[in-house]
């Protein structure tokens, strides 16, 4: 029976500095955002950092609870921000670790350390098109296998790729200018 700590054993600031020492030269910057520890690292930190975070005696992040990405299309060369969220149940800690990637590059998979990464990385691959090197079964998970494009990228239209341009046009009144509109109303009233 595992009884978690009722309050966090480390403050967010201490978590950031602990991850900094674990990441070593890969550490970019860390901050405390809305009470959460957030650390940015370079892509070469992975996959070593997964194992380090899991086995570290002070942090002991047993769970990788979530992987997601954010697309910043204007940030040339670092368009994709990958976000891993870790949680320690025994020590009641939480941290977010992020990495910036260029389009078309990949990052090492976490599946060797955390089994939860299997589905989560497939989801990120499916919706963002980010490659996870070393994933045993990297293929689409929510969309059909033959689907084209990655919908959560910002350039992907929310209506879908094959949406006709004039679909929003109102066929009843078309491109009428306001004068024509009112004369049409008048004619309708006379009839």
């Amino acid at each position: 029976m595992l009884h978690p700590a009722t309050t966090a054993t480390l403050s967010p600031k201490e978590i950031v500095s602990r991850i900094e020492s674990l990441a070593g030269p890969s550490y970019e910057k860390g901050r405390v955002d809305h009470g959460d520890a957030v650390v940015a690292v370079t892509p070469d930190a992975w996959p070593k950092l997964f194992e380090a975070l899991r086995t570290d005696s002070e942090l002991s992040f047993e769970q990788l609870i979530d992987i997601t990405a954010v697309h910043w299309p204007l940030d040339d060369g670092r368009e994709f921000e990958l976000v891993w969220q870790f949680r320690s149940l025994s020590k009641n800690l939480y941290a977010r670790v992020t990495t910036r990637l260029a389009d078309g590059t990949g990052v090492n998979s976490a599946t060797q350390t955390f089994a939860s990464a299997n589905y989560l990385e497939r989801e990120v691959y499916d919706l963002f098109g980010i490659d996870f090197q070393g994933h045993p079964n990297l293929k689409r998970i929510l969309l059909p296998q033959e689907y084209e494009g990655h919908p959560l990228r910002k350039e992907y239209p929310v209506e879908g790729p094959n949406f006709p341009e004039d679909a929003h046009r109102n066929d009843l009144f078309g491109e009428l200018d306001p004068d024509d509109f009112w004369s049409a109303i008048d004619r309708a009233a006379e009839e």
Binding site: L2, H34, V38, Q63, I65, Q85, N92
Partner: protein, 410 residues
């Protein structure tokens, strides 16, 4: 025997099925998969040798849609994910926005108690669906009927509070929004708790010999698997980890009410059943305390935060008060506008940790909203623990993991 698996390229090797092996497509229209989940199972006699889950049949692109709505508009999308516990989903979404805006501590007490009560009511509703269908899958028919009768009463309470039964869109950022409740509703909740017949289901199922035979030592999840697979909720507490976000990181009014977290260490289907059943008894305790606490609050206590840039003014003031009209117009046209930044907030949903991750660019629409859905993460354990069990036990395992496909696919 060959089954055309299309271009899905599942790791269950559909081209080379061994001698005396059979491929079985379970779902997406199979009643025990609780929705449109498809399991491709390789069988040796009745024993499962490989299992692969195929999902996405219900994918609606909720995350992309939330990016195109203002923060208020996203509320209606959230209760369509875990539709068995709509208000609870709404609550997680709102509280993540409140964390992003840094107003979590300013939410009035009345709203916090009401949120807690409604979240626990939706936990009861969700667990009733689960206990009914889970027992039905295993062959106990009557629990299903008793269970849905009780759930109906809860949905009726939701209807009285906000006008909708399942897709409630309950509450708004900053408090209860327009959905404040009167004394009559509190009386109705108290009456519901008085006449609540959970003990009937308890007596029908818990000591039922057939049910115990079918669930004990079936689908055992170890503590290490819980960690590695990122499992949360009753799966975790059925495997001996006393982790419950309501206790470890209290939100809403959970730090003000008294309740226990049921934990069982066996890790099998029966342990998860006991966890959920005991959770339901605890939920009743929480709801009773919340109802009493709301009754003790002054009659005119606020149910919304006093911040005009978050909460629209009382609608009766809008036609006669210029300030109120401008305020109302701005909130309707632009919505709430959090500062640029990001925040993650997770709540203990009936199925596990439901988390919302928001990135704001300062505009009225979220730049990015990611939903960490408990069903999606918990589903991955099915592939692992089904192997080596009988095909009939797969039905019990799916039931005990308690997934809802609206949330898996989003």
């Amino acid at each position: 025997m060959t089954i055309d698996a299309g271009k899905t390229g599942l790791p269950v090797d559909v081209e080379h099925v061994g001698e005396n092996r059979m491929l079985l497509n379970m779902g997406p229209q199979h009643p025990s998969t609780h929705g449109v989940l498809r399991l491709l199972i390789e069988l040796d006699g009745e024993v499962v040798r490989a299992c692969e889950a195929d999902m996405g049949y219900l994918h609606r692109g909720v995350e992309k849609l939330i990016e195109t709505h203002d923060y208020r508009g996203g509320i209606t999308l959230t209760d369509r994910m875990d539709y068995t516990a709509g208000p609870s989903n709404n609550m997680g979404y709102l509280m993540a926005i409140e964390k992003l805006m840094g107003v979590t501590d300013d939410i009035p007490l009345r709203a916090r108690y009401l949120r807690t009560a409604v979240a626990e009511l939706s936990r009861l509703a969700s667990h009733h669906i689960w206990i009914g269908t889970h027992a039905l899958d295993i062959g106990a028919m009557s629990a299903f009927l008793y269970s849905l009768r009780e759930r109906e009463k809860i949905l009726h309470l939701f209807e009285q509070a906000c006008g909708a039964r399942m897709t409630t869109s309950f509450m708004r950022v900053g408090g209860t929004g327009p959905h404040d409740i009167g004394d009559q509703w509190l009386d109705n909740v108290a009456d519901f708790l008085d006449g609540y017949t959970l003990h009937e289901i308890d007596e029908l199922v818990t000591e039922n010999e057939i049910f115990m035979e079918r669930t004990r030592d079936v689908g055992v999840v170890t503590k290490e698997q819980c960690f590695s697979f990122g499992l949360t909720g009753p799966l975790l507490r059925g495997s001996g980890v006393a982790w419950d976000l309501r206790k470890t990181q209290p939100y809403a009014a959970y730090d003000l009410v008294d309740f226990e977290v049921p934990v069982f260490s066996e890790g099998d289907v029966y342990a998860r059943y006991l966890v959920r059943l005991n959770e339901m008894y605890q939920s009743c305790r929480i709801i009773q305390q919340c109802v009493d606490a709301i009754r003790d609050l002054p009659l005119d206590s606020a149910s919304n935060i006093d911040r005009p840039e978050i909460v629209p003014p009382d609608i009766s003031r809008v036609p006669v008060d210029m300030e109120a009209m401008i305020n109302h117009f701005k909130l309707v046209m632009h919505g709430v506008q959090p500062e640029p930044g990001e925040a993650y907030f997770g709540i203990e949903n009936p199925k596990g940790e439901l988390g919302y991750y928001f990135v704001s660019d300062g505009s009225g629409m979220p730049y990015r909203c990611h939903v960490r859905s408990p069903s999606f993460v918990n589903l991955s354990i099915i592939e692992e623990i089904s192997v080596g069990t009988l095909i009939a036990d797969v039905v019990a395992i799916i039931g005990s993991v308690d997934i809802v496909l609206g949330e898996v696919d989003r």
